[in-house]
């Protein structure tokens, strides 16, 4: 299966690039920071530890996967290896989706490694929900990073665009709440701004509803809401992959 070759290449590159050590360092840093902060807490010290470690590892996982995808793809383009690959008797969609599958597998491995420490404080069911959700979230981030790395001209804009999309998606609900809050004045510019915020929200995934630390603190989420949140991520990852393939097909060698 040709796409599997690209997936394997992505995993091999990550292993040789020292990603395993980086992941271990992130886990060690998270555990150390959590232990330090829990010493300062007057109550809920275990919950504080779980919350800090989970939040930190989530951010680390997203940063690692985004940086890995963007750096890998940009290196391939800058070294003209992509042109070589395009000369192979494989469809462009296969090549693009093969890479995406590899980065998704990498994200799933990272999510599993980062979910394990949460077992120190949370029930296995809650940790499983959190870990699976993180794997889906990382697949979406990988899709976004791959899309921006292929479409934008260099590394920094691609990383910045991925980070902007991710952070905006995580804070969009809070922005909507502020825009629709009771203190908001009733004027047409404000109404316009509110509708604009709602419009932007339609184009973003609801990342504030997934991989929630509350699941580790207060128990696993209800199955329906959880499934809906993950389905939302899948839809958005599919959208990004489709946009990426669309752009890749139009690419002039």
């Amino acid at each position: 299966m040709p796409a599997a070759i690209f997936a394997r290449l992505a995993l091999t590159e990550a292993r040789r690039g020292g990603l395993v050590w980086l992941a271990l360092a992130a886990v060690a840093l998270g555990l150390a920071l959590g232990a330090f902060l829990s010493q300062l807490a007057l109550t809920e010290s275990r919950m504080l530890q779980a919350a800090v470690v989970a939040a930190l590892l989530r951010v680390c996982a997203v940063f690692v996967i985004a940086a890995q995808v963007v750096a890998s793809v940009r290196r391939e383009i800058d070294d003209k290896r992509l042109e070589l690959m395009l000369a192979l008797p494989l469809s462009r969609a296969t090549q693009y989706l093969g890479r995406f599958a590899g980065f998704t597998l990498l994200g799933a491995t990272l999510a599993a490694a980062f979910a394990l420490p949460a077992l120190l404080w949370a029930a296995p069911a809650a940790v499983l929900c959190w870990g699976v959700s993180l794997a889906f979230e990382l697949a979406l981030v990988a899709a976004a990073a791959l899309f921006f790395a292929m479409t934008l001209a260099s590394l920094v804009p691609a990383l910045a665009a991925t980070a902007a999309l991710y952070l905006l998606a995580r804070s969009m609900s809070a922005m909507q709440a502020i825009a629709a809050g009771p203190l908001a004045e009733a004027s047409w510019p404000h109404e316009l701004a509110r509708h604009a915020v709602d419009g932007v929200a339609l184009l973003l995934p609801a990342l504030d509803r997934v991989t929630r630390t509350e699941w580790l603190l207060y128990g696993a989420p209800d199955a329906r809401g959880y499934a809906m949140s993950l389905a939302g991520l899948l839809v958005y990852a599919a959208l990004l992959a489709a946009a990426g393939v669309f752009d890749f097909e139009r690419r002039a060698a």
Binding site: W21, A41, L42, E44, A51, R212
Partner: protein, 241 residues
């Protein structure tokens, strides 16, 4: 991960010197900057809950706990003999309110209000913290009653304000619905009334409680019946009856 490198001995001496001097300068510079504890006057006005939620980037539970660590550092530590004695309690309760709104299931803000900030020797500050606990109790009585019970005890024993203690105790009795709330908490008002020498009111409440059938434990029912008889004896022995 490995890369080809030239041996260290190949580096010019001035680079070694420049690196060592820069490192020494950095350490000396930082060593002169002793970190100062956050003073009471440094506590900024509380942010709104939506602003905190925006700043949390979808991690409200984590930010709520980190914000509590940030808050408890003000006017505390070092040689401070009167921790939290100079804090602006209006701002403080504003912060606690915003943090609690960020994660309503967290017990940290109410714990800090009832067990730390309300135990301040200044009665004015203590009352502000107790009122915060009372207000927030009303939003979720079945989960937050332990903090109001502690507030009632503080009002009674530390502030010697029995009417305030009775208000808090009565609120627990009237607003809690869960079977998990223990009867001692629901009966607090009776004991406060006894302390206020409001024996008639205490007798009515206790009699009503026994007749309601809410007490299933025979030992507890026996104890309360004994208290009721004692109250009736004290009432009978009061002059003018």
């Amino acid at each position: 991960m490995s890369r080809d490198e030239r041996p260290l001995a190949r580096l010019p001496a001035w680079i070694w010197l420049a690196f060592a001097a820069a490192l020494a300068a950095q350490i000396a510079w930082r060593a002169t900057q002793v970190p100062a504890g956050a003073a009471a006057a440094d506590l900024p006005p509380p942010p709104s809950a939506p602003a905190l939620r925006l700043a949390s980037f979808g991690e409200p539970a984590t930010l709520a706990r980190l914000a509590m660590l940030y808050l408890q550092a003000f006017d505390y530590g070092g040689t401070n003999a009167n921790p939290y004695g100079r804090l602006d309690y209006g701002r403080l309760t504003g912060w606690l309110e915003a943090i609690l709104e960020l994660d309503p299931r967290s017990e940290y803000p109410l714990f800090a209000a009832a067990r730390v900030y309300a135990e301040n020797p200044d009665p004015v500050r203590s009352r502000i913290a107790l009122e915060f606990v009372y207000r927030e109790f009303l939003a979720d009585p079945d989960r937050r009653w332990p903090w109001l019970a502690h507030a009632a005890l503080l009002a009674k024993h530390r502030l010697n304000d029995l009417p305030l203690a009775r208000r808090y105790a009565a609120a627990i009795d009237r607003h809690t619905r869960s079977a998990n709330v223990p009867l001692w908490a629901k009966q607090m008002e009776i004991f406060v009334l006894e302390d206020m020498n409001e024996l008639e009111a205490a007798r009515i409440l206790l009699g009503g409680l026994l007749e309601s059938g809410a007490i299933h434990d025979p030992a507890e029912a026996g104890f309360l019946r004994q208290r009721l008889e004692e109250l009736e004896r004290r009432l009978a022995s009061q002059p003018g009856r």
